[in-house]
Amino acid sequence: MQFRFYLSEAVNSLLRNWVMSVAAVVTVLVSMFVLGLGLILFFNFQDAISDLRSKLEIEVFIKNTATQEEIDALGEEIRAMPEVKSVYFVSKEEALETLRESLEGNEDILDALSGNPLPPSYQITLEDPEQIEEVASRFFDNPVVDNTPGKDPPDGVKYGGETSDRVLRVTTIFMIGGSGFVVLLTIASILLISNTIRLSIFARRREVEIMRLVGATNWFIRWPFVMEGVISGVVGATAAALLVLVANHFLIESVVEKMPFLFNATAVPTFTLTIAIIGGGALLGAIGSTLALRRFLKI
């Protein structure tokens, strides 16, 4: 492959039809910029969501009448479950202490209590939060667990069923919606590049005819057009990547300060993102020009 020759042909053509080239580059820039912003939001949301999900836990309350053996046995049983990531035992005293701290300033309410009515409990986090309901249900009929008889759902097991369902649903919707948006933008970019290359082919159809007559192979004719697309893609995407980095720095990071619970500055892998945007631009250019060549360059 005569890389340098193809490259200079492509660059010359881009410069000669600079109006068209600028249009293509700006198109890629806009698409990839929006795509990049989308990715930043995506990374942040994903981070926030996985954070939320990792905080979902099952609380299993134990009957005050349970013996130490029964409590230990339940602990062993829980630890043996493959879905379980970690187990923490909260003793009666610790539960009371936590409650006392949360009452801050009104501790004297507790003095009205005789003894400690709080039950001990196990706090369980799972490897995969999706299984939370299934794992929680295993404790519904356990005799050691402090379930009030006849109550449905059982009150001895707390796993934030509603909350976790909602978080999972939002995650799924966000993933699907986000992917759909990205796909749409990608298609738009490809079509626009393809159109630019198509115009370039039309502008040079006499040249193409001459190339064929002097015995140029199909790929000898195609390569400069492909490179034209790739160059437009890379130039547009590089500019977009810079803008995305700037946007990430000024916009998102200022939001992070105000809403640290939702945005995490370290959530965006900047280097990967830059490479992905530029690589994506090159890919868009290549696909766009290939499409145009297939449809409009009959050789």
């Binding site: 005569q2 040249e207 190339m211 064929r212 007559l213 002097v214 015995g215 140029a216 192979t217």
Partner: protein, 225 residues
């Protein structure tokens, strides 16, 4: 070098381009293809270049049967045939040297060889001092010389010219004819389609006359008539 056996070309719908042509041109020959517009000269040349297929018959160029040639090898076939056209067909955005170099680039020749061969051939056609001009900046005759240089720079075994002097004044035409004659003298087969009566009569070479797609006359050292 060129053999047409019972070749017919019928364009849709029912327009006869060539009608049962039998022609054989030897290696090293110089032949004129004469006839009115629409007599089939261009069809003959385009069939040679395998721009399209004949409706019937078989065509052999340089020992290769064009019907049996795969599409992917057509570019290599064309590199063996230098082409000169009435409208020059130069790349308008490239200077003279790059236009000629293009025919070499296509064959994958290294840059160093290209740098050597291009000035050489441009000297030969008398344009050594216009290498860096754009085609627009040249006269018609000079543009046709560039086109001849491009056609010949690969030293093809066959050079085909379709009305190369059609757009040129008589004096300039003589210059182009001399160039083609010199190329023929190097052993290259030259086939030239023309209706330049004066030129044909002056050269006294083989004349193949076409009319309505048929060969009506084929004689050595012939006249246009």
């Amino acid at each position: 070098m060129i053999t047409f056996e019972h070749v017919s070309k019928i364009y849709d719908p029912n327009i006869i381009g060539l009608d049962d042509i039998n022609v054989h041109i030897e290696r090293g020959e110089f032949a004129f293809l004469v006839g009115h517009s629409g007599s089939g000269k261009s069809t003959f040349i385009r069939l040679l270049l395998k721009e399209f297929e004949p409706s019937r018959g078989s065509i052999t160029v340089a020992g290769r049967n064009l019907q049996r040639m795969r599409r992917s090898t057509v570019p290599y076939h064309r590199r063996n045939i230098g082409c000169v056209f009435q409208d020059f067909k130069l790349l308008p955005n490239k200077n003279v040297a790059d236009n000629v170099a293009y025919a070499l680039r296509v064959t994958g020749q290294p840059t160093r060889a290209i740098r050597r061969k291009v000035p050489e051939i441009l000297q030969l056609v008398g344009l050594g001092d216009k290498m860096y001009n754009l085609p627009d900046e040249l006269s018609a005759g000079e543009q046709q010389r560039v086109s001849v240089a491009r056609a010949f720079v690969n030293h093809p075994s066959l050079l085909v010219a379709d009305e190369p002097t059609g757009n040129l004044d008589p004096d300039t035409s003589v210059g182009i004819m001399q160039l083609l004659y010199r190329i023929n003298r190097t052993g290259t087969t030259v086939l030239m389609a023309t209706h330049d009566r004066e030129m044909v009569d002056k050269m006294r070479k083989r004349v193949i006359a076409l009319e309505e797609g048929k060969v009506i006359r084929d004689e050595d050292k012939g006249l246009y008539r």
